[in-house]
Subunit: 288 residues, 2 copies
């Protein structure tokens, strides 16, 4: 199978590598060519100098870039990947972006006989490197059937969740849930610190019960140590929460805590923590 991978960020770089390691014929494109050259050297794959050139002759084209505008830039227009794709090809966008963009891309692709799936991922950089991502998919059954074995190169789980946009909507729910979990954990650990409790003994006691969460289990040690220079960046979380808050206006749902936590992340950015892990909500208490 001939595939193109567009966008070699902390996620895309190892994802494209897993595809090559799985035996696929992979051609990459990245806006800064240096990174594409490094990837080619590491994985012995091919590279192209435009998204359209990368997509040319491919069965499946995958993208994983920054935001809606970046997706438009690499997929649409005369140099965009879609211009080089023909009937029967499949376009997959792994970027966390808006549901409306996903629906627009699905429409544009369909009118050329090209399949489209919105397929944001979770699991972070570690998940991408270990091939253990989760892929949340929106689109049509027959397109998912083609994509599923491709996803298996870098994911431990993928699921088709509904029509175009459903993958993006599911990712929004994921981020909304995380916002509440992390802020509750930050308030709890700050309270514990102020109350003089031993954090390790506390977490050992409460983590298996009704207060337990992935965040508590995987982030309490670094939170107790007040360390945040790793993980999923606050800058990206703000982008994702912004998309969710915008979509909530469309569908009429209320997000009081997600909106409040988004404002707390804005404070973290002002503190210089845009690249810190999302668990840095605790730093609003400890470093002010």
């Amino acid at each position: 199978m001939k595939v193109a991978f567009i966008g070699l960020g902390v996620m895309g770089y190892p994802m494209a590598g897993h595809l090559k390691n799985a035996g696929m014929d992979v051609c990459v494109f990245n806006r800064s060519a240096e990174k594409a050259e490094r990837w080619c050297e590491e994985y012995k794959g091919g590279m192209a100098l435009s998204p359209a050139a990368a997509a040319n002759g491919c069965d499946v084209v995958l993208s994983c870039v920054g935001n809606d505008n970046d997706v438009r830039e690499v997929l649409l227009g005369s140099d965009g990947a879609l211009s080089a794709m023909h009937s029967g090809c499949l376009l997959v966008d792994h970027t966390t972006a808006s549901a409306s963009l996903a629906r627009e891309l699905h429409g544009l692709a369909s009118s050329n006989g090209v399949g489209f799936l919105d397929a944001p991922v979770s699991g972070g950089q570690a998940g991408a490197e270990n091939g253990a991502l989760t892929v949340m998919v929106g689109g049509e059954e027959q397109d998912y059937a083609i994509a599923k074995p491709v996803f298996e190169a870098y994911s431990k789980f993928s699921k088709l969740l509904g029509p175009a946009g459903s993958g993006q909507l599911a990712k929004m729910v994921n981020q909304i849930c995380i916002a509440g979990v992390v802020q509750g954990l930050a308030e709890g650990l700050n309270f514990a610190r102020k109350a003089g409790l031993d954090g390790e003994a506390l977490i050992e006691t409460i983590s298996k019960g009704a207060a337990g969460s992935w965040q508590m289990e995987n982030r309490y040690k670094t939170m107790l140590a007040d360390q945040y220079e790793f993980g999923f960046a606050v800058d990206w979380m703000r982008k994702d929460l912004g998309i969710a808050i915008e979509e909530a206006k469309n569908n009429g749902s209320q997000l009081p805590v997600a909106e409040l936590v988004d404002s707390f992340y804005a404070e973290i950015q002002e503190m210089g923590g845009g690249r810190w892990d999302t668990s840095s909500l605790l730093a609003r208490f400890t470093r002010k």
Copy 2:
């Protein structure tokens, strides 16, 4: 070992039963005597008509009642359990109450040579019935050494977390964390509903990752069904959050989301949901 158990609510009733089943000589007291009579019939234990009478001649006295005032009523005063306890005895309070009351009781007990542990539990009614509670303990090592085998009759885990009051403080952290988790989950599931996502498929996809929690795993089914008539009651959660918010004023920690969620639970009470499970935060969206 001769023990007294004071307070046969949904928690105390099965807890006292586990003690009797473990071979201890158990005497119970409950403010409404009918329930004590029913307990005696079911477990073939003894009952008394006052806390002092129940405590008389016991090595360990355990209480599990409603709030600070209830604790004072059953433990202090001329009819209270403490009046009948002598040097070398141990008093354990399983009630979720304030840390200041725990310190006060520890002081009063100590001055009579009586040991005291504050030991709130988590795990709910099901945990009490199945003998699978978690016990968060504050007090002294030698007293915990006596209590530990007693706790094992109805708990799967107990831990001494520090001096008197530490058990209560840990329970407060537990409830603060839960407030954030449940509200995030409620906002996420409501958003999913408004967005037209299939809830089951969504949770299957996101529950193993960074958004995952005990609450998501154990409450999503009933939340999707909009059912809340079970579990840990909103009335009790408000009591617990009230204690935590009060303590936060003492120790100078901020609880923006826990306070907001407490106000949401007040709305649930106004909707007639005081006895609903804490996951009913979703009903603020679905039933209004």
